[in-house]
Symmetry: none
DNA sequence: GATGAATGAGCCTTCATTCAT
DNA sequence: AATGAATGAAGGCTCATTCAT
């Protein structure tokens, strides 16, 4: 990730990467079986961290407080581990690459669906399924859109602002359109 | 763009590109001065088309109908010229590359600001400046987020759904929070 | 020669040369039939100037004043037309190239012999033939050696010093070893 | 050097050179860091051999026998390692190239100065400093001039004749003009 | 006579990968 | 498990030269 951060995936040679890691280039092939697989392994780590960030936050939130749970999901997506410059650039390289690499594509797809699934689950507590699907898509798009726009700026992602914009949307969405209480009745 | 679509920017060699264009590899360097500059020139064309898509649509909308104008801007961003697979993949490669190439970065920055500027201008007709800034950011993020999520799917971008999600947000935003009429009074 | 002066023969492309000349690259091939032939034509011009420099000076010197005639030959070899940086670098490129190009080699050979011939002719007026041959070789070597050493310095050739060193040698040679008068008796 | 000998520096491609060496082209860049640096490394070797040739000969000559020491220096400059065709052509290519390559130029400059320095040191034992400087320059020019003229002939350098011409000059110079003994008095 | 557009061949260099140690 | 040396394949780019105009 440090190599990608500095020169981009394309110019991050195995020699450079192994140099930063303090090992020989050969060992990378030995362990990972090629540069492509190294990127895949790297992303598995990052995706695991993302998953952990979200589940960890959800643990500490009451299951019936939908807004808080949605906020927790959003917050997890903007965890420090995901907004560092080196991670952000690796993500973008991963996305670009996933369009031409089956293994990476599957990884990306799983992650994409997981976010939607988390969001839908919560939203369905307080609104009709069809609407929940739509709002989930919108929230997911907001997360990715803000994340992407932040990634493309040298200042990086403004995490507090990101959370504010998305959480504002969530609150308004539930206030304006739900004739239900914002806090779901416990199942 | 066809070459990027098929194998990605990295593996799209000058020979492959020139082959698709039916010319010699040398002429590409002669005219564009290298592969990097070719990508830049390509993106200039795409960005011009995006700009044209938006301005063309705005021309046919009453200046006082803010919602319609915002919808036109959104629609322009999902124009056919921007949602083709080959264009979408080129965009993503461009973004990734712009993080390590000054010339590309400037291009990307200009485009980013232009969208925000268009959105803010319209929103300020019907809401306080500070709020307009925020809503503009949210709409921009939605456009990019939905665009990105669509880009990463093999089915491509679902344009009608994209417009619906974003326009819903716009309508709700103006209905819920503006004590002004949705159609601005003519100046 | 300007192109060679700036970047060396190798990197002096036909485009660069034609640019400096204010013509199209194609015309160079049309007129000279290739880059190699252009170098040959250039050297023919330079060699003609060298020849003219010497003969012109000899015209103004009494045929019986051997020392003065030798000095004139030396002086001709350090004429302004031969000691400019652009000419000097072209000469050196020519020499290097002449080892692998038959046409250039012939040109170089003719010039080499001409100098020796001039020198021998004069020296034989005042010393035995065998000795004249040797001294001629030494003078020729001095001319080329000083010229070369000057060529390799950024300050260029110090012409007055060059002439002094060589003419000193000539004078001493004729003073020390010739029991003949320094001025030959008219034939 | 074999490649330069056969086709000249320009046409001596890395592939040809590596072919002659029985290795892959890539290893040349790996070890030397490019074709330019390979030439530099080659010349360092040649210059070291030249330096060794001279110092080795000087070791076996009495410090007080100035003529013999000068002859030794001359002889060292016409050592077998310096007069082979492949070395001679490499030298000439090196000179030509040194005019447009900073690293090569420094190398060339050091070598040039070293010869003058050696010569001056000996000459100052038997003549005034100012005169020693001049004679040193003349001897150096003779060495280079004869070397160059020999280089340009297909027969190559006639080493015995070269030494004779230069040593004759040295002897005459010391006989004619020095009111000192040819053999310096021991310090 | 002169040119601009275009090309094909070739070169230097990079780099992921292999293999003997 | 780890490495240093080495390689083969490929890529971007340059350039002398050609050709229709």
């Amino acid at each position: 990730m440090d190599a990608i951060n500095e020169v981009g995936l394309h110019k991050a040679s195995v020699v450079m990467i192994s140099g930063k890691a303090g090992v020989s280039p050969a060992i990378i092939n030995h362990h990972f079986g090629g540069k492509d697989n190294l990127l895949e392994a790297t992303m598995r780590t990052v995706l695991k961290q993302l998953s952990d960030s979200v589940t960890e936050r959800l643990k500490h939130v009451d299951r019936s407080d939908v807004v808080a749970r949605l906020n927790a999901i959003v917050s997890g997506n903007f965890d420090d581990t995901q907004t560092e410059s080196r991670v952000v650039k690796t993500w973008l390289a991963f996305w670009t690459q996933s369009m031409h690499d089956e293994a990476l594509y599957r990884l990306q797809r799983v992650n994409e669906q997981r976010l939607l699934s988390y969001l839908r689950y919560e939203l369905k507590q307080v609104m009709p399924k069809q609407q929940a699907v739509q709002v989930a898509k919108t929230i997911a798009a907001l997360i990715d859109g803000i994340w992407l726009r932040g990634a493309l700026k040298p200042e990086g992602i403004d995490v507090p602002e990101a959370k504010k914009l998305i959480n504002d949307y969530i609150r308004e969405q539930l206030e304006c359109h739900c004739n239900v209480q914002l806090t779901a009745v416990p199942a």
